[in-house]
Symmetry: D2
Subunit: 279 residues, 4 copies
Amino acid sequence: MVLNIVHPEVDAVLICSPTNAHADQICAAAAAGKAIFCEKPVDLTLAKVRQTLSLVEDAGVPLMLAFNQRMDPSFSAVKSAIEQGRIGTLRSIHIISRDPAPPPISYIKSSGGMFLDMSIHDFDMARHLAGAAPIEVYARGANHIDPAIGAAGDIDSAYIMISFENGVTAMIENSRQAAYGYDQRLEAFGSEGMVRAENPLKTTTVLSNAEGIHGDRQLDFFIDRYTESYLREMRAFVDALKLGQPMPITGQDGLEAMYIALAAMSSHQERRPVLLSEC
Amino acid sequence: MVLNIVHPEVDAVLICSPTNAHADQICAAAAAGKAIFCEKPVDLTLAKVRQTLSLVEDAGVPLMLAFNQRMDPSFSAVKSAIEQGRIGTLRSIHIISRDPAPPPISYIKSSGGMFLDMSIHDFDMARHLAGAAPIEVYARGANHIDPAIGAAGDIDSAYIMISFENGVTAMIENSRQAAYGYDQRLEAFGSEGMVRAENPLKTTTVLSNAEGIHGDRQLDFFIDRYTESYLREMRAFVDALKLGQPMPITGQDGLEAMYIALAAMSSHQERRPVLLSEC
Amino acid sequence: MVLNIVHPEVDAVLICSPTNAHADQICAAAAAGKAIFCEKPVDLTLAKVRQTLSLVEDAGVPLMLAFNQRMDPSFSAVKSAIEQGRIGTLRSIHIISRDPAPPPISYIKSSGGMFLDMSIHDFDMARHLAGAAPIEVYARGANHIDPAIGAAGDIDSAYIMISFENGVTAMIENSRQAAYGYDQRLEAFGSEGMVRAENPLKTTTVLSNAEGIHGDRQLDFFIDRYTESYLREMRAFVDALKLGQPMPITGQDGLEAMYIALAAMSSHQERRPVLLSEC
Amino acid sequence: MVLNIVHPEVDAVLICSPTNAHADQICAAAAAGKAIFCEKPVDLTLAKVRQTLSLVEDAGVPLMLAFNQRMDPSFSAVKSAIEQGRIGTLRSIHIISRDPAPPPISYIKSSGGMFLDMSIHDFDMARHLAGAAPIEVYARGANHIDPAIGAAGDIDSAYIMISFENGVTAMIENSRQAAYGYDQRLEAFGSEGMVRAENPLKTTTVLSNAEGIHGDRQLDFFIDRYTESYLREMRAFVDALKLGQPMPITGQDGLEAMYIALAAMSSHQERRPVLLSEC
């Protein structure tokens, strides 16, 4: 299948394969001179990511890395509010991201670990919202959900504090399980206000009875929750290609988020705040 | 007790007695030249209300009628939004007012009927929000709750449509019982927007679980729901007295709301829209 | 185009043409023995609707009439709550349906009037939720928005009260224009509780600043608001066909809603409550 | 004034004086054998707190320390939900506490610093909700608001992560200023659900217009926000006295919260997680 991409009518390649195939497929597409859209991450090892991005750069082809959550209408409205100065000078960011249920242990084992696999979305989001480089990370992991996850050498719950160059602090919680559904929330606090994105619910129906008021469940998982963001990221990729504009999310963005994940891993293991400059 | 009001140190009389004592007490207070604050209604018969108000006018004493709901912070914010033009030209009003549980049958029997006893608050509110004279009323009553209420010659549910001189239409529902607590809501719709007052809840606590989200109950009844409005109406009465300003709610307001109630009664009995000019 | 429907591989015909083509296309499809899905209404004249439905019945083909709003996830959750007894015995229904902006005058002129064109969705919904036959309608129309609508012989605002056989009362407001977007709300009140469907917003983002809290706009119009209901009604049609089950919404449903609309027109013109038995 | 407390008709002493008077007044009341209610903190120095509490213990008089926020109806509903097992096994706690505006610099100077003065409420709340002893604290302070606060040697923003013995993690943000009003929110996440307490607003009024929906401001400050909690804590004190039951919040609770504050101060200064066992 990779061979077909050399066809002259192919302008761009969309890589949505398992992570361990990404780097090779990116290289093949770059070698064929094609624009590339790739699901995160480029790879789980820093060396291979750097090598792949360097090769893409040499090939001079555009590469968009799919941090789809940036394109979520509610989350991008938070970003816009910050950019438009509606909350003044940004001071802090809160992100809560909880999956409804943990993936199979087999997935956990080849995931690169919770920070690289799951938290990385929030690391990218925190960088994106902060609009500055991260300086220091303090991270704590825990095992609350399934002992098999711990036995596989991973954590299932993460608590992270990131300090950015511009004085912004991000506080992030991740959990591999939430009994009430997929929980994806953002908050940005600044000198003039605060802006939040709450979880959309399945319906707007509310029942009032003798016990109180009762609303519907949250959306089940990323397929429902981020439908619109997937459409928007594809549109953004195609638009950037057509207009010859820079990609909205780049391989470098993937690399930067990866540095935060690696710092978080070190912090968790060494129980101390870790400077990004150590990575 | 009425005798004491002639004391020169008494500036004003607050009448919070049962309805059938109101007219006499108002007359006594007026005769003594005292300012008067009286719970609604002045009386259940039109003739006595007119006679009492005429006597008050002759005595030249200020009279405030306690339609306390006008002073509720949320409801008065609705009125302010209308007055400030924030919804443009007013087109329609919706009021839902449901008690948690019906009063005793003994109370029902001497209440003057649901329209005069309960709906009258909403008739006053509709007039207040519409800012115009009512022209026509169409009302339907029903018995959904307790057959004893029907046996006592009253209804326990009411559905009312009022047309005002300025083209505004009000739709009102009243119920003597709501399993989920005291339900008091307003909505005003205009050419530029809509403004609503929702029910406050006992706490802001929300539980999310596998069934959905769950908030607290509404406040139980008028004592909790309208605490602030009672304080504000007393402050408004005293302020008006001190500053020599007109009373914010007058006996005439009581009379006008009573006309709507009487039109609603006729409409319900005769199953036809009734003009206020018929009353 | 109609001719092609006789092709043996055609199982069903979807009629989404202008209203004045519906009856003929239904007849052609019925004559060809095809299952029929048709946008509401069958026709604007009672005689032609009856004649068409009779012909469909004789042909023995299934016909689904597209009152899509019944399939809206939030509205069907309201219906489910009623059916499951979660609000006890139903007492009343409130429906507010306001379009963002009026259609062109040319559309108004051939629409059959606001009751038949717009309110009919709510008449169907009221019937659907009430689960009983309507007995009486009282309706008031008004012109608040564009004098050209009045000049075209139509109203742009409607206020309707419907009494059902089982004692349920429905209060409905319609407006051809709402400055804040497409407003589509339902409320059902019963002996044990109340269930409401509120308007979904474009995003869940909320800004808090010195003026208060600020949420996003409502969805713009039916294309956004009812996307899911259109998918669901098509699925329901296909499922019913495959399983040989009765259509979830029938031509008879269209006829019943039409009777309410005609009663509402008479009520508005004659300024009196109109019995369905008069139609 | 202190002298009067020996009067035999005095059963209890309420100490609501400036912090630097607390210890002496507690000692005087204890010496007089009176029950004591004291605003937090007992003192700003650990030695004096220990000494005072020891003296109270020797005197055998009850002492209630006024962490009033525990008595807030919404916050105590969060605690109840945890205790009743409604969210299963507790995993994490989030607290955001932001004042509307910083106190005067003179107050800052004698406050003991932000951790001891402001965050201490949240340290107590985190302990209260976690239901376990804290083990480790990681805290970062920042100066975002007023350089004069930094010049006075204090911070105006704090970000804190606390690990508890039972595996629970608390993430806390404090700010001395929020443009949108007093922001006091809690969230507790567990294996079966999540429970949150949101900010009450001044009214329930919501305006919908072309820009979106607009709600009222949050309550201004602790006097409005915690009115009910002050009433409840006084009732709880009197009830405990009358019934001879243990005080619901004790001097020991004050001491434990103080240890967290001291650990936070060390953590912030030394830029490392600090064990409670180091204090």
